[in-house]
């Protein structure tokens, strides 16, 4: 194998890696079933997940997203993970969700949950959840705390999360 061939192979490999990295950093996970989302994303028992349910069509949801972003950027602790779970309609991903995410450049992880068997999975999040959004679930191992309300500020959200963690 000569030098030129090896260099060329490395070049192609690097291009391929750069391409897939660029694609994956723009792409967002889409789950069609709540159970898959739960199994694949909520899997670390020693992580506190801050799971916000929202949609681009929900005005109060959009209003509080910056608080989740600020909170996410302020926490150095890798044991807290903010997940922005969008309930946008699957046929509006390209027209509504992707432009919205691109415009706002979120550092928090955005996930689309397109499972519309709501009557089955809403109560898995919380038995009392009537289905209104925004709503936020805190999850750490088997412990949960659910808030069917908007947050008023970063401080409001931060207090909520930290008092849950202290109660663990």
């Amino acid at each position: 194998m000569n030098m030129k061939f090896m260099l060329r192979t490395i070049q192609i490999l690097l291009l391929f890696i750069a391409f897939t990295h660029a694609v994956s950093s723009q792409s967002m996970q889409v789950f069609e079933k709540f159970d898959d989302f739960e199994k694949k994303v909520l899997k670390n028992n020693d992580t506190t997940y801050v799971i916000n349910f929202w949609a681009t069509w929900c005005k109060p949801c959009v209003k509080e997203l910056p608080y989740f972003e600020s909170f996410n950027q302020s926490i150095g602790d890798k044991k807290i993970k903010v997940l922005l779970v969008s309930l946008d309609f699957k046929n509006q991903i390209k027209s509504h969700l992707e432009p919205f995410i691109k415009k706002n450049q979120y550092t928090s992880e955005v996930i689309l949950l397109s499972d519309n068997k709501y009557n089955t999975w809403l109560e898995k999040v919380d038995a009392e959840w009537s289905g209104s959004i925004p709503a936020t679930l805190l999850l750490s191992g088997k412990k949960k705390l659910f808030a069917e309300r908007e947050f008023e500020s970063v401080e409001d959200l931060s207090k909520f999360v930290h008092s849950f963690i202290h109660s663990l």
Binding site: K59, F89, N91, L122, G131, S132, I133, A147, E150
Partner: protein
């Protein structure tokens, strides 16, 4: 029980409102057509389909045509559909009375589209979002609460919860399920 609930979930709205089996209160609300409506106006009704809905929520808008079709289908069978906009227009201007008039005219609503002036009716019922449906029998006893069907996409509906509930009433049976869940927009109130 309610106290315990609010202790465990600080900051959540305390959930009150009807459960299946409760007797619902009547109301007198102004419709988009300018007339006042109460359930007691309908002496021969076999039941009432009370739908909390609005102009501004895209989820509710997805159900508008279906709500209109339900009204067309069931009025002749004696079930009166009444839609109520529970939102405060000062919080959500798109849900003003004038815009309700426009929407009713534009979409040819065949049902009364009522304005919950003072936002007194929706908390009594315990509506938490739009759309949110309450099926009542002729004595105003709540028989079914929740979603109209199981899919926001009309072409992909599998279970027509509300229609099944009405069919149960016709057979003098209680609907099962008596409650279902779906997502929707929170009701707009001043903080």
């Amino acid at each position: 029980m309610l106290f315990l609930f609010s202790f465990l979930n600080p900051g959540n709205p305390v959930v009150t409102g009807y459960q299946p089996g409760d007797k619902a209160a009547d109301f007198t609300l102004k419709g988009a057509d300018g007339k006042m409506y109460s359930m007691s106006d309908y002496k021969k009704a076999k039941g009432f389909i009370v739908v909390f809905t609005c102009n501004s929520c895209p989820f509710a808008v997805k159900y508008e045509d279906r709500v209109n079709e339900l009204a067309k289908k069931y009025t002749s069978q004696g079930y009166i559909l009444l839609a109520i906009n529970p939102n405060d227009p000062e919080v959500q201007p798109a849900d003003s009375y004038d815009l309700m008039k426009e929407r009713a005219a534009a979409k040819g609503f065949v049902f009364p589209y009522l304005f919950d002036e003072g936002q007194k009716v929706f908390p009594q019922y315990g509506a938490t979002k739009t759309p949110h449906v309450f099926l009542l029998d002729k004595k105003l006893v709540v028989k079914y609460i929740g979603a109209i069907d199981d899919n926001p996409d009309a072409s992909m509906v599998n279970e027509k919860y509300l229609e099944n509930a009405i069919a149960a009433l016709e057979k003098k049976m209680d609907p099962t399920p008596a409650t279902t869940k779906a997502i929707g927009c929170s009701i707009k109130v001043k903080k």
